[in-house]
Symmetry: C2
Subunit: 403 residues, 2 copies
């Protein structure tokens, strides 16, 4: 595989145009409506929230993806999640997709939709449908920055990533935008991720690749341990790269999974860095696990522990809380084999405290990016997850909002 | 069954003596060593942490309870959890129990032990063994207040409860002490509960009763969703009430379960009220569930949601976060059947928002005790759980401690 080239901004993504505008949903007057269109019909795949209360947009996309072969457009609004809105919610989804399809002269079945923002409040659908002509007119192959802005809620910065690599003589481009900041204010925000690629790939293979990439990225981060009604990751592949169709389990498939995983990890890490109230970016690397699944499970339990996260905010090398979180994760372990290091400094080895140099560790804990290594000592599998610390500002942001 | 009489302080518990003294483990000089002794050998049962990293005291008690029929003493230290301390940890448990047994002229097998406080630091066992003669000399049938103080860590108040009821002509007395405040600073504290009764009861029946009572009390509360290495609930029953032995599933068994549950719920609610940084006491009542287990699971997911807890701190009637937490709990549900009320005011009915009187709800949200009712609408089972809100002070308490 050729080296993956990574960019913070998105350049041209062959065959895709995007836009992000103000439709008037947000009282702040910020951008709140995003559209991405593929010039040619594109295959698509999605990964959705495991929450059992699903927003209509999630149900709508699941149904479409199960029935329709190719798609042309993804529309996303921010400022209102259209969740817990009763039967009207699904009607609003359909109205918007129909209106968009009419404007773009495509079939309504070829549209996908996502919403993020306040829940339990009916979507101001007329504002969206009225803005669709302007939205379509704003489409540009340089519209990614606007598109990324249009999906933000409490995010402080817009989140974009791009990776490129060569498959034979063809250049495969993958671009993505995301929004996150945990699951949050107002009411609850949502993790949304959208990836667009010119790769020529089989639909089932794309679905498998997206699940793998999502598990290693968006499903391996946490800001506050919450899982929203609207969480959604979509990928569209329009085939314009002209590569031989990616199929099966061969090298070209592995290359694509690596590139998509890289893209999704970059976006996921941006979500963690922008976590509400976060002052530290924390990587948790679990090794010596019986399985990849258990390594992730142990890592995510540490990453969601309020006690670990407040200790990180307090710059306290509190390895006991880490061991306790691992013990609470339910994974296979032997307490006498667990080792914990922070920023390379061993704190506990095989279950026994290490006499560590206090001044050095105090200095390490002040770093803005911290890696925690946990070796379970019972297997050969490993996984990395990412989280942030837990500060006063998280409580402030989430307590001060009033419906 | 005769009416249960409840007391905040513990009176005489026939055949039990208790003490709490300063052994010097805590730098603050506060009480840190507690002893409860039964005049006659008592049967015992325990419920322990589900964390896979177990403190030596937990392992010690599990082994003893499996092998030994009757017990005479429970010793508890605070200020040091004796957890993650390597093989020395179990040696320290044995040394203390041996020393206590010698002092009391009983068999070491008849002792149970618990520890709570900092983890990863060797227990200062000589301080404890040196204090044992004084501890034994302090035993008194009026020692409960001291005993409750000796097990405190970050608790702001000591926690005691007593219930009495008549079984035929005999008076059954149950007394309990507990400590909690979540799982917490310094390093992590622990939930400990100890109950003592004069009931004459079969050992297996006592174990079953304790599990039921614990599930409906200590396992139905949360301060911060953490589960420690040392969590432990023990009950001793010395039979001195002289009632016909409680056996099987009859009325006397049900009476005892009700009384023990009442005792444990009172103690558990005291732990929640004293939760670190808590400003509100929150009851979550889940109804319409397919099973008791699912009702508790849904309730506990709401109770551990940082978003729900910060909204409560912010006095925001954010029912969307509640529905989302239920959806994330994994229980059987139908989003179109979920109803949510706070303090009796319906906020969402059958999945659809209710137009509620804002000023009235604002006033309700300012209350210090809040009940959230969630009806799942899919069954006939119900459960209550208790939690507190999540304030700046939780973060402060847990961030500012430095090892």
């Amino acid at each position: 595989m050729s080296k993956i080239t990574k960019q913070k901004k998105i350049g041209l993504v062959p065959g895709f145009k995007s836009a992000g505008i103000v439709s008037g949903i947000k009282a702040s007057g910020a951008k709140d409506l995003t559209l991405i269109v593929s010039d040619v019909p594109a295959i698509a795949a999605g990964v959705f929230t495991k929450n059992r209360v699903l927003a209509p947009s999630v149900i709508y996309n699941k149904r479409r993806l199960a029935k329709v072969e190719k798609f042309k457009a993804v529309i996303v609004n921010s400022g209102n999640a259209n969740a817990c809105t009763g039967p009207q919610g699904m009607e609003d989804c359909k109205t918007i997709c129909d209106s968009l399809a009419k404007e773009l002269a495509i079939n309504a079945n070829q549209t996908l939709i996502a919403s993020t923002g306040i829940i339990g409040v009916p979507l101001p659908t007329p504002k969206i449908t009225s803005a669709i002509p302007k939205l379509a007119n704003s489409l540009s192959d340089k519209g990614w920055n606007q598109a990324a802005q249009g999906i933000m809620t409490t995010d402080l910065v817009s989140k974009m990533a791009e990776v490129r690599y060569k498959e034979g003589k063809k250049e495969i481009v993958l671009a993505g935008i995301a929004k996150g900041s945990g699951m949050i204010h107002p009411n609850m925000a949502t993790m949304l991720g959208f990836a667009f690629t010119n790769a020529n790939i089989d639909k089932k293979v794309l679905k498998k690749a997206l699940q793998l990439a999502t598990d290693a990225s968006f499903n391996s981060i946490t800001v506050d341990g919450e899982c929203s009604t609207n969480d959604c990751v979509l990928v569209l592949a329009n085939g314009l790269a002209g590569n031989s169709k990616i199929n099966g389990n061969g090298a070209s498939y592995k290359n694509f999974v690596a590139a998509l995983t890289d893209l999704c990890q970059t976006l996921a890490q941006k979500i963690v860095r922008d976590g509400e109230g976060a002052t530290k970016f924390v990587t948790i690397a679990v090794t010596g696990s019986r399985s990849l699944k258990e390594a992730r499970k142990a890592g995510m339990r540490i990453a969601t522990s309020n006690l670990v996260k407040t200790a990180l905010f307090g710059e306290d090398p509190n390895w006991g809380r880490i061991v306790c979180a691992v013990g609470d994760s339910g994974v296979s372990l032997n307490p006498e084999k667990i080792s914990v290091a922070i920023e390379g400094q061993m704190l506990a080895q095989a279950g026994v405290p290490v006499q560590f140099p206090k001044k050095k560790v105090d200095r390490l804990m002040k770093k803005k990016e911290i890696q925690i290594d946990v070796d379970l000592g019972v297997g050969a599998e490993s996984a990395k997850v990412w989280t942030c610390d837990f500060s006063y500002d998280y409580v402030k942001i989430n307590a001060e909002y009033t419906t």
